[in-house]
Symmetry: C2
Subunit: 331 residues, 2 copies
DNA sequence: ATGGGGACATAGGCTGAGGTTATGAGTGCC
DNA sequence: GGCACTCATAACCTCAGCCTATGTCCCCAT
């Protein structure tokens, strides 16, 4: 099996030359990503073609005409400079390069589905059948996946999402403004029943270029405690857990950098500034694209519980129960 | 902190009603993803606004005019039904909902960057300064990340990619048609030097709804061997490793399903058909969105080496060495 | 052999999303 | 009070992408 670019690259110069001609010629070849990557519709079309084996059927599935699909696919191939699909009078098959591109495209489309699920929950508010309140970390990293699964299992369940910190989530449940909540932390908020649905682990990460990425054995707690780290600001959940875990080992050193958001911490770590400590939920992408690597640490407990919570006595039923069923098993 | 949809939802019916009106009214509300998710340009714009704190600066960064950015952002907010950005006469800040949406958007954009890096390598062929040949699994899951990193560290390195199975990769290196190769497998191909850059682990996965997802202890090798699994066809690398590992434990049972591609195996597993065995590289997304969970297995070695290879005597130098430096540290 | 049906490609015409410039209006600083 | 910065509005333009209609190729069934 081989996959290699095999299309003509004609017209590339033309595209590059056109983009952003009038405004802002001061920079270098600044071509925004959106001009180098086919749009979501084209990627989705490619996935349909891969699955259905026919341009026309893919077109029908997407609600467009066959010529539209044909031309769109061709435009995508011209843009990438690679032939993706082998047409024949009785169907279409991916080329080897096409199979590779399709898999990369699938990851974009899946991220878009998670986006859609999340955005949908953010929009549909009080009129929803299931009102969820969740901590930021859970809302950001886990809920979209659950919502996609929920949609698969129980289509038509409208979910609304309210994201806040743990105490506000608890507040909302007690007020009856939400049906089901998700928080992370060591103990369940007062006045609420709950169940542990999994665990979140804090991980020490560095850029692959950092010395710690190459060391043989794990880092000892004392070494971690003594090393200046990239951290969230004091008061964040992550920082609290880390502080508690390392207190017995000499206490946290003065941070190397103290940043306001998880994203900022990640960026700093990726750029090689130093080791950072983050929720493992936050670094899945960075691990799989190898921008960050985990540094094993020995003998420190860096876990916190992930909890579903609800008002005392009101056992989740109906859609809340459905969602709860999807959340078990992590950690 | 709270993040909730707070925008008007006007115009939603209008959009839905327009899409796909003429062709194919036979289905239900079939609105392709592309119409529910803002396009890449808009998402990128949102990320710039989040980072730069100003609509106009974000516009300049993207090479468009400020009014264009303004209108585009507004259109995105209308589409999502959520106010994302708080404008003020001296800058713009994300709302809480906007912060959440921005993080989801970032994942789409990152997937698009990986796509771009891969597609670029697929297009630029013999004229590139670094010709890489890689096995399918590595080309698909790891190389895009490396290429992004390489672009960061050494801009201007043009990479071409040839993806094939291990023996073809070896062939190409011996012929001098590639400068650096990547293969997975237990031993290095003949006639080539190489270095182990990491390991790939096979994992047993199920849908979260499967009984194995909820069991307490790990699965014993004998139990795994006796259970019908969803597998790649005989002859695939995955299948070979699994076969060898379980031979001592009674040998692999007749498969539940035998499918031709990794994607097909994943889909079957996600839909709950049964347990599947896959490279951990292939299931990162499914883990983080919780569509699949890992089932621990006891006492079986399901690892295979990931190897960088090159012609005997020709130590990688220049760009090949740069790339090699980025690949160390996995597993 | 010959017509039917499915596949993809080509041609010509339309629409609208998204771009541009020009301008207005609010805020803070010197 | 002007200047520098923000964002919003208005009026216009262009082209990407859609449609329908038609052509060509291939396979199969009559």
């Amino acid at each position: 099996m081989s996959a290699e670019g095999s299309g003509d690259a004609r017209g590339r110069a033309g595209r590059a030359g056109r983009a952003g001609r009038r405004a802002g010629d001061e920079g270098a070849a600044r071509v925004p990503l959106a001009h180098r990557v086919p749009d979501l519709g084209a990627l989705e079309l490619l996935l349909f073609v891969a699955r259905l084996g026919s341009l026309g059927r893919a077109a029908r599935e997407m609600g467009i005409s066959q010529p539209a699909a044909s031309s769109r696919l061709r435009a995508m191939e011209r843009q990438l400079g690679v032939v993706l699909v082998e047409r024949s009078p009785r169907g279409s098959r991916l080329t080897d390069a096409g199979a590779l591109v399709t898999d990369w495209a699938r990851r974009i489309v899946e991220a878009a589905e998670a986006f859609d699920a999340g955005a949908h929950a953010l929009r549909d508010r009080r009129d929803s059948r299931l009102r969820v309140a969740a901590s930021m970390t859970i809302a950001e990293y886990l809920l979209p996946g659950w919502l996609i699964a929920l949609r698969g299992g129980r289509p038509g369940t409208a979910v609304s999402l309210y994201a806040a910190n743990s105490s506000v989530v608890a507040q909302r449940l007690r007020e009856g403004a939400a049906d089901l909540g998700f928080v992370e932390g060591t103990d369940a908020p007062a006045g609420l029943d709950g169940a542990i649905i999994g665990h979140d682990r804090l991980v020490v990460v560095t850029a692959p270029s950092h010395p710690w990425a190459r060391r043989r054995g794990p880092v000892a707690p004392e070494e971690l405690a003594a090393t200046p780290l990239i951290l969230r600001e004091r008061g964040s959940g992550t920082r609290q857990v880390l502080d508690a875990a390392l207190r017995a080992h000499g206490g946290l050193a003065e941070p190397l950098l103290e940043l306001a958001s998880t994203t900022a911490v990640k960026s700093a770590a990726v750029s090689g500034a130093g080791p950072a400590v983050l929720s493992e939920l936050a670094v899945g992408d960075e691990f799989s694209t190898r921008r960050l690597v985990e540094v094993p640490v020995d003998g420190v407990r860096l876990r916190r519980d992930l909890r579903a919570v609800w008002p005392v006595g009101e056992r989740p039923a109906g859609p809340a129960r459905d969602l709860l069923g999807l959340t078990r098993g992590r950690g």
